[in-house]
Symmetry: C2
Subunit: 414 residues, 2 copies
Amino acid sequence: MGIVVQKYGGTSVGNVDRIKNVAKRVKKTLEEKKKVVVVVSAMGDKTDELVSLMYEVTDHPPKREMDMILTTGEQVSMSLLSAALFELGIPSISFTGWQAGIETESVFGNARIVDIKPERMFESLREGKVVIIAGFQGVTDDMEISTLGRGGSDTTGVAVAAALKADYCEINTDVEGVYSTDPRIVPNARKLPCITHNEMLEMATLGASVIHPRAVELAKIHGVKILVRSSFSDEEGTFIKEENDLEQAIAVTGVAYDTDVIKVEVLKMPNIMGTIAKLFDYLASEKINIDMIVFSEHGHETINVAFSVGIEKGQQTVDQLNKHKSELKFEDAFYEKDVAKISIIGSGMTTNPGVAAKMFKILGDQDIRIKMITTSEIKVSCIIPEDRGIEAVKLLHSAYDLDVEKTANVEGTP
Amino acid sequence: MGIVVQKYGGTSVGNVDRIKNVAKRVKKTLEEKKKVVVVVSAMGDKTDELVSLMYEVTDHPPKREMDMILTTGEQVSMSLLSAALFELGIPSISFTGWQAGIETESVFGNARIVDIKPERMFESLREGKVVIIAGFQGVTDDMEISTLGRGGSDTTGVAVAAALKADYCEINTDVEGVYSTDPRIVPNARKLPCITHNEMLEMATLGASVIHPRAVELAKIHGVKILVRSSFSDEEGTFIKEENDLEQAIAVTGVAYDTDVIKVEVLKMPNIMGTIAKLFDYLASEKINIDMIVFSEHGHETINVAFSVGIEKGQQTVDQLNKHKSELKFEDAFYEKDVAKISIIGSGMTTNPGVAAKMFKILGDQDIRIKMITTSEIKVSCIIPEDRGIEAVKLLHSAYDLDVEKTANVEGTP
């Protein structure tokens, strides 16, 4: 009998009624002759509440004690869910991170899982129980309680699925799956029946985030299938898995859109060994994360470098560059605010020539100015003027046959 | 350097300001060159809130899951207190029950501590840290989280003090110590500087409860000194210890008063072997707790039995008796509501003859009708009419030289 891991996020267990609803969904899965392991987050805003409480006590909470207080959130949800299952006549047992054997590195606030000792979970499953696990937490070598940081519960779900060799890991959330683009922008965005881990990684780090990239990465490494679906409906969701089956041949799976970027330009920097490295090192030391980088040597003595950073980092970036201007010897550094990043993603791209060219043509035909381009194996991203962004998303979504009315184009002619 | 265990109850850690106040008190104790271990309860009404939440999910919560949810309460307080100490520049570390090595029997909801492995606490104390422990919880042999039930945090405090061979265990609460009687009834009730474990046990099971009898019993067995004091003032509290020092000779230490009782009488029951046992067995099967029992054989063929039960149990008791009337063959069973129990307590009683007689005389002189009497080594209790109760408390308190104006009567002539 196969094992399914079901992860329910904070919204899905936000109150007692929703917890009862989760219990019913678990029951339904059991009726499909599956063994079920549930990973839960803290209820609704509980984590934020606990953080605030801690900050009422001190502006500098010790990380260890922050983990201590935060882990209570999941412990509350899991015991309530276990009780709700008992109420439906379903035997179940809840485990904290240390009880479930989730071992992490000795770090607080952002620990990575190093191992899972699944014996206790297997034992309870053998006894016919539903196993409920506190997401987001683990235990270190020296018996300290740790948390996994951002995306922690998703990561717990995937890691547990890997350790138990589960059929797949469901991520039950408040959206119905992964869409070909943001349905708020393109109303006929298509829910994708499946997508590869790599495609999902490109989607998630852009703006279509429904599952934390860290969890997707872990799933990719361990070959864990993920099913993203809604906790609030019975709609089929989106499978994230290694190979994209039938749709493999489709060049473009989705269009991602992100307005939370700005473009920075550094002009006329001398083309000397190590200057580029120094420049990005100075930015890294200020914790400025760089997204796209465009640079190409053209045989001249000076070079231009362009890159994108988070929208709130513009002034800080330029200030930091100017601080080191005498060393880096560039002529000018400035940033441009009113831009957006639009990307097409698809693992079929590599085998379908002309996908990128088509994107540039569509944008060019409408006089949408492309200010920057980067490409990867499965993604092409352009920086364009923000005021043309939504129009561009709609154009590309339609041009790549992603609109919901149309039949999927199995041939994927770009 | 001596170790002090300080237990702070729910009221004492009821909000962030109070937790900061506890941190200041810990700091003061450190300045007295003591090592400090703190045991905390859940904040204010937190435990009740968690219980309610559980009952919103089900009318029959699994005990294991109830323990799982309840133990989060103490975990929250302890991490906040640890943070508050860091804020004062004091290194500290908080431990859940399992981290502190508090091992209990394999029972949920009402487990007894079977052992404490103090190594980790000692190690942190050696490192100069304040150790903070979640009260009320432990871990079973098979790594299950258990709770200790009523009086759990007091019990944790005493058990930890025993394991660490602490100088004493402070019970910080919302009263300033143990009084010779209820100060709400007798305004010049005296705060006792010290009292023996046995006297405290008799006081606590009556109405002067400031610490759970279970914790006092444990302290008695392990010879742990307890200091009951207020979290909200610097007043000296009451020491509970084996020998009562100077005051040993005082016959009566306190007067206890309890209106939460009723008297039940069973009349003309045949005096046949085993009938009495059967009677109380039938009551026990209905979970009716008996307090005082008065019975004496007088050579007749029928006997009368009187006993006291909790005020809400009267009708249930009589109903249960009548259900078995044909077997028990008594003539009548009824209960009397408007009564109260008044007791004098003192470990010096055994060596001071006439203490009980004086009590009966004082009550008799004022025509306060005594409806029932029981005695133990260190206590005499009478059931009297409730409407004369407060008057009786005042009379006895004064007659035994307990009023605060007077000097302690070291000779203790009764």
